[in-house]
């Protein structure tokens, strides 16, 4: 790549929010035909840097050069007109429109009588084909697609206009392995056409699989720019978190306890299922045990979790707690049984964005207690202090609206919200999705600590390594069905779980 000029060059970028310097003199260079990854923990300034480039945030100091010209964009639309497209972590599409309309939004083919829908949909089909999504019908509603495929549609949308720079802000956090491969194929195609791709991801495997170059940020500061083949993983992680690796090593074999110790049952599912969603499932949840749900996206792991927690209604089977059958028709009924649930969709089903960290933390306790008996300021402050400290929420400012926190810290507040209700069963659906290494290990530690205190935990993650590392027992799901229960041990690892899923598939 040497000899070429960077298509985008940012130097000395400083962005200040009231009271915080989010970026401090950070630089970034993007070359055509290269995949460039920004690495850093949550809150390191990755998203801020992207938003500084596309003009969402005002740049307080520094220079942005695009194709040799000094530029300041006034917003994403302005950036897009200069060929810089962005796909965000959370899918920003219109669910009520068709796939084709979403792809072509703002770029519809026009004729003498306004938009020519047939041609527009044809073009949408071509763009989708380019991405290996030729099987999608552009006229089908977007809402018929899974979140993962919607993400790919969002990328298709961003390459419709003549894109020179494509920014992908954590596009893989909701994709499974196959979909990631499709995405990477698309990225390679675009790269070979000379598009500069800016990629943000927390998955080291993916970063190494796709990137040509890395820029590492830490606490809003520029740490370094490296060619991917010049820096190994350990060095990279050390650069990101700014400390050496020995502290991380301890996490590798976190769960080494007596698997034969007798366990007391907390809850039992007997043929619990919902038609078309999850087949009848029989499963025991024990106290002091982390039960992992493993399976591909769409295997039914989330759906099963939602039945256990009253988020959705089961239409067959019974759930018993302490031997007594209970009816969990609504979340509050489950909460009354001391069952807590964090959804995989943090933005839509987790945080209450405009409310403060304090209000978010206290809300579940408050709902349980009823509206009449308000949690007093003193109680609230005590809870807030406990959980901000225990879960290391940053910034430790309880009055800040939760939407202004980074993803990892939002997740910690949501976790704290449920811990404050002192649950006996904690169901965590993708609690570590889209958050950084540091926050991940902090959340993992908390999960193990809680299980150690006798809590029953259900842990769901797309990252099988994580499931293996944390779980005592692993329920493997495929095609809306529980296909195996594995007791964790030396012979259980990612490979054996993948094999379990695959074997059943062959049978």
């Amino acid at each position: 790549m040497a000899g070429k000029e960077p298509v985008v060059e940012m130097t000395g970028i400083t962005v200040e929010f009231p009271g915080v310097r989010a970026l401090d003199s950070v630089g970034l260079r993007l070359w055509p035909g290269e995949v460039h990854t920004i690495m850093g923990e949550n809150g390191a300034g990755k998203s801020t840097l992207i938003k500084a480039l596309t003009g969402v945030y005002k740049v307080d100091a520094g220079e942005i050069t695009v194709a040799g010209e000094s530029t300041r964009f006034t917003g994403p639309g302005d950036a897009q007109r200069s060929g810089i497209s962005t796909v965000y972590q959370e899918v920003n599409l219109c669910e009520n429109l068709s796939i084709g309309e979403n792809v072509m939004l703002g770029n519809e083919t026009r004729g003498a009588f306004g938009i020519r829908w047939a041609k527009t949909h044809d073009r949408a089909r071509l763009v989708l084909q380019e991405l290996g999504l030729g099987h999608l019908d552009p006229r089908a509603p977007l809402s018929s697609l899974s979140l993962a495929v919607q993400q790919l549609v969002a990328i298709a949308r961003s390459i419709v206009s003549n894109t020179r720079v494509l920014i992908l802000d954590e596009p893989t956090s909701s994709l499974d392995a196959n979909e990631v491969e499709v995405l990477f194929g698309v990225m390679r195609t675009l790269r070979d056409k000379g598009v500069a791709i800016l990629f943000v991801s927390h998955f080291l495997d993916q970063v190494y699989a796709i990137s040509d170059r890395l820029t590492v940020l830490r606490n809003g500061q520029f740490v370094g720019e490296y060619l991917t083949h010049e820096i190994n993983r350990s060095e990279l992680i050390a650069q990101m978190i700014g400390k050496d690796l020995s502290s991380l090593k301890g996490m590798e074999h976190a769960r080494e306890l007596d698997q034969n110790a007798p366990r007391e049952e907390f809850a039992r599912l007997d043929g619990v299922g919902a038609k078309g969603i999850i087949e009848p499932t029989t499963l025991t949840l024990n106290k002091g045990e982390v039960l992992g749900f493993a399976g591909l996206l769409g295997s039914g792991r989330t759906e099963l979790a939602r039945l256990i927690t009253g988020a959705d209604r089961a239409d067959t089977g019974t759930i018993s707690i302490g031997g007594k059958p209970v009816r969990l028709r609504t979340p509050d009924a489950a909460i009354a049984q001391r069952i807590a649930f964090t959804s995989e969709n943090r933005r839509d089903e987790g945080i209450i964005g405009d409310l403060s960290v304090r209000e978010n933390l206290v809300l579940a306790v408050q709902a349980k207690r009823g509206w009449l008996r308000r949690v007093s300021r003193k109680e609230a402050d005590a809870l807030v202090e406990t959980y901000i400290k225990r879960l290391n929420v940053r910034p430790a400012d309880p009055d800040r609206p939760i939407k202004n926190l980074s993803g990892g810290n939002q997740q910690k507040v949501v976790l704290g919200r449920w811990l404050a209700t002192e649950p006996e069963l904690l169901v965590l659906d993708e609690p570590t999705r889209g958050i950084d290494v540091g926050a991940k290990s902090e959340i993992s530690e908390v999960i193990l600590e809680l299980a150690g205190k006798g809590l029953s935990v259900v842990f769901i993650s797309s990252e099988l390594e994580e499931v293996v590392r944390l779980s005592d027992r692993i329920a493997v799901l495929r095609d809306h069905r529980l296909i195996a229960e594995l007791v964790n041990g030396p012979d259980v690892d990612v490979e054996s779980i993948v094999k379990t899923i695959a074997e059943e598939e062959a049978a």
Partner: protein, 393 residues
């Protein structure tokens, strides 16, 4: 949480970080215009024999009572992402049933109470119908209350047989025309009820739960908040307060005009809510703001009459004032003005670390809690910047 007690300066800044600050400014400007026209406009005189206060300000308080009532109810409905278009018709229904009863009842305090009870009772029933349709049947609030708005007028007509029924009852009339400690009874009742509602929502967790429901209904459900009861309560309360507003409106003339009583009142209430800084998208609400909005709208109505603006131009004049206030509250417009002052390119946006600045334009700070205003929704004003620094430091 360990913020020091705010001084006068920061209190003032806190006030100006509230969305309704511009409503107060507009209110004062209107009064200033009145004073320019007539320097004695603000004078309040005390009747030496009865002790009653009189004057234009007292008139404004008296006239604002019905709008205050429906604006407070509307605020809570709007906070849940709903809207109640039926309040004007509910006013007519409650007024109609009271008048119809009183037209044949003896002129006693007892029948006044009975009339009041019937008016409020029927209003409550209509509110419960709204609530059930929204909360459990799942109809859209706009449609539900639009239907009730049309049906309510019909019900009022049926009650009076299409007549504008008049009645005589001194006790009932006292509600509208009497005084307590020199103040109009309607205003005293309205003030007490507003305070009661404020205590109800802010001293219990009701307000926070309503806000949570309005901001993110899905997450609220998973947290264990049951939306049904909350929705039913806000629609019932809105109708109940509208019923009282109807009593206020009819008692002053002791006549119900079935096609005019409460006409367009829902629009006044919605305007008051918006001027008060509660977003129609739901979520954070400010009762104080809605009170300011209701007073502004009443003052505006009165000023229009006082300035002898032709009645044909009245709606246009009203619209101009309201639009001006809303524009001043818009974060984007304020950012633009600030950008101009600082000599920056006008197209540059302000830099709140909010992911969706456009959404937050009419979002209120938490009502009646100036201590936390530094980090309230409108985190872009010149006033809050310093406060935020202090909080973050």
């Amino acid at each position: 949480m360990s913020a020091p007690a705010p001084g006068i300066g920061s209190r003032l800044k806190g006030l100006f970080s509230q969305q309704y600050a511009w409503g107060i400014v507009a209110l004062l400007l209107l009064l200033a215009v009145d004073v320019i026209k007539d320097p004695s406009y603000l004078a309040i005189t005390v009747n030496p024999t009865t002790g009653n206060l009189s004057g234009n300000l007292i008139d404004i308080l008296r006239q604002s009572a019905p709008v205050l009532m429906i604006a407070v109810g509307m605020t809570l409905v709007v906070a849940t992402r709903g809207i109640d278009l039926s309040v004007g018709s509910v006013m007519a229904v409650s007024g109609a049933v009271s008048m119809q009863f009183l037209s044949t009842a003896p002129n006693t305090a007892g029948s006044a109470f009975a009339a009041l009870g019937m008016g409020l009772g029927l209003a409550l029933v209509l509110g419960l119908v709204n609530g059930v349709l929204v909360a459990w049947v799942g109809l859209q609030p706009f449609i539900t209350t639009l239907v009730m708005m049309l049906a309510g007028r019909g019900i009022a007509r049926v009650i009076t047989g299409g007549q504008n029924t008049a009645a005589t009852n001194d006790a009932f009339r006292w509600i509208a025309n009497g005084t307590v400690l020199g103040f109009p009874v309607v205003f005293v009742i309205a003030a007490v009820l507003v305070a009661a509602v404020a205590v109800l929502v802010r001293r219990t967790a009701l307000g926070t739960m309503i806000e949570a429901l309005g901001i993110n209904p899905k997450a609220s459900r998973l947290i264990g908040i049951r939306p049904g009861g909350l929705l039913l309560s806000v629609y019932a309360l809105s109708a109940l307060l509208a019923g009282l507003g109807g009593v206020f409106a009819t008692a002053s003339v002791m006549t119900v005009e079935v096609s005019r009583t409460g006409l367009n009142s829902e629009l006044d209430a919605i305007l008051a809510v918006v001027v008060g800084g509660t977003s129609l998208a739901g979520g954070k609400f400010s009762l104080t703001g809605s009170v300011v909005g209701a007073l502004l709208i009443t003052t505006l109505d009165k000023t229009i009459v006082f300035l002898s603006i032709p009645s044909a131009a009245t709606p246009a004049f009203k619209a101009i004032v309201i639009v001006a206030v809303c524009l001043l509250q818009s974060e984007r417009v304020r950012g633009w003005l600030r950008g101009r002052r600082a000599g920056r390119a006008p197209a540059q946006r302000p830099t709140p670390p909010s992911p969706a600045p456009s959404h937050s334009s009419p979002v209120a700070g938490p009502g009646g809690e100036p201590a936390t205003s530094g980090s309230a929704g409108g985190a872009g004003t010149a006033g809050t910047d310093n406060d935020q620094k202090a909080v973050n430091a």
